[in-house]
Amino acid sequence: GRCYLYMKTIERAAFPRRLWERVLLSKNYEKALEEIDENLIYWPRFIRHKCKQRFTKITQYLIRIRKLTLKRQRKLVPLRRKIERRENRREEKALIAAQLDNAIEKELLERLKQDTYGDIYNFPIHAFDKALQQQDAESESESDAEREEDDEDDEDMDKREFVEAEDSELSDFEDMDKLETSSEEEQEEEEEVEKKASHSKSKGKMPLKGPARRKRPYIEIEYEEETEPSTKTKAA
């Protein structure tokens, strides 16, 4: 922006249109100050000084404006109160409908049943059989199955310390971790189980709660396969 010097004299007070006289000042700061001086030559010293002060202020803020427009500007987006309130309410209702804890627990149990954790936990063997039984028998023998499970859990307690430490709840996690790692190492060294040939689909993380089959969303545990190499190569 260019700066102008506006002057008025009392002789022209009767003619408002011609009241103000305009002079374009040069872009150079020092030269502009000199121009102000020569234009306001017979004016009082105080007024000249004030005019030059104002001019300095104006040039400085013009410089700042130019610098700011080059930087990134923060864009302010107005919030609409009604919409904000509506969204907050809907979020609360969705939270209640989601029942997150139950959903997470269900999902974890499903993964346990589907053997994604391998043999880290003691009970999977029994759970797997139980799951098969339950699926076949279709919920008529559930009460019997549960009683059996309880008995077998007691048996497990004799074999490994892990199950006993249940009582300490969730504050002894470090101890749990140590126990688990030791048991895990033993098991992994011992076993060489074959898994069925996995399609490329199962490598992806399928979103859950889909209707039919649920692939193992995450892991690809690699096992050494000694038998059946031919079928694998054909499938791949």
Partner: protein, 316 residues
């Protein structure tokens, strides 16, 4: 007129057939008539309920099963882009989209977390906690740098994802998640952020183990791609020793993020303890390339006028 101290109205009141309570001009009388009408409705409803219950008990075993109550999820308008798990076209798309290298294990995720200019205390702490939740992530402060300049630098240093947390009045309120080597960019509105100390629990800090990921309820195509975006943040192989799980649960277009530690008490019971921050996200837009507000090609934008018209229609 009708005095308030009158005895309740007689059972059979005769009115001309075109009468309605709202036509009475006098407010007091109208109010009174309306209350009486309401009481009558309630009585009728109660009587109906009792009758039904009696019938049900009378039938005993032969009674028809209880009707399933209608919920918003039940009544949801069927979305034509819902993914069928057996769909081959979807599977093919997913095998060739930008996340394919991640799912084929060719890339390891490396995340850069940053904020908008001059983040305030809460945002800074939230960023740090988020960095502990997501393995292999780094927090860098943005001191006035333009995103468009950061992105090529990130790509050069092998980052796979960029998270920008936008802040407003000292609380984080937006999240931009961008998959770096030319991947999609999603812009979310973030709400109800709770830091670790605000969550009521008495657990410890999350460890360095790689957590598992749970993605719930991402049904449509759009939901699918967002779900894969989230999945791509975490390394492919979770460490089950860590027993940590990060959950992204979609419910009515709101994505709830939680971070828990679980423990199996038995085959049928699992205990979870919440650690780590929690927040909810709502998708605002999905862009095809990396972050570019002016020239980007938007795959999906939330248009309020068109998309918020029905209460039972959701997009994720």
């Amino acid at each position: 007129g009708r005095g308030e101290g009158r005895a309740p109205a007689p059972e059979r009141v005769l009115f001309p057939p075109t009468f309605s309570v709202s036509e009475i001009k006098n407010k007091q009388r109208r109010h009174f008539m309306f209350l009486r009408w309401k009481q009558q409705q309630r009585k009728e409803k109660l009587a109906l309920k009792k009758k039904r219950r009696k019938e049900r008990e009378a039938l005993g075993d032969k009674a028809p099963p209880k009707a399933v109550p209608k919920t918003i999820e039940n009544q949801r308008v069927y979305d034509e882009t819902t993914v069928d798990p057996n769909d081959e076209e979807v599977a093919f798309d997913e095998a060739t989209d930008e996340f394919a290298p991640y799912f084929n294990r060719q890339t390891v995720p490396k995340i850069l977390i940053t904020t908008s200019d001059r983040p305030r205390g809460r945002t800074v702490r939230f960023c740090e906690q988020l960095a502990t939740v997501i393995p292999n992530s780094h927090v860098y402060y943005r001191r006035g740098l333009a995103l468009k300049r950061i992105i090529p630098q990130c790509i050069a240093r092998d980052f796979t994802d960029l998270i920008v947390i936008n802040e407003d009045r000292k609380i984080p309120n937006g999240l931009v998640l961008s998959h770096l080597p030319d991947g999609p960019t999603a812009h979310f509105r973030m709400s109800s952020v709770r830091l670790r100390k605000e969550i009521k629990r008495k657990g410890k800090e999350p460890t360095e183990h790689v957590p598992e990921v749970i993605l719930n309820n991402f049904t449509t195509r759009l939901g699918h791609s967002i779900g894969r975006m989230f999945a791509a943040l975490f390394p492919h192989d979770p460490q089950f020793i860590g027993r940590q799980v990060a959950t992204f649960h979609n419910q009515r277009d709101y994505i709830f993020f939680r971070f828990h530690r679980y423990i199996f008490k038995s085959e049928k019971k699992v205990g979870i303890q919440e650690l780590g921050p929690r927040f909810t996200l709502k998708l605002r837009s999905l862009q095809k390339g990396t972050f570019d507000s002016k020239f980007g090609e938007y795959e999906w934008i939330h248009k309020r006028r068109e998309m918020d018209t029905s209460r039972r229609k959701f997009h994720l």
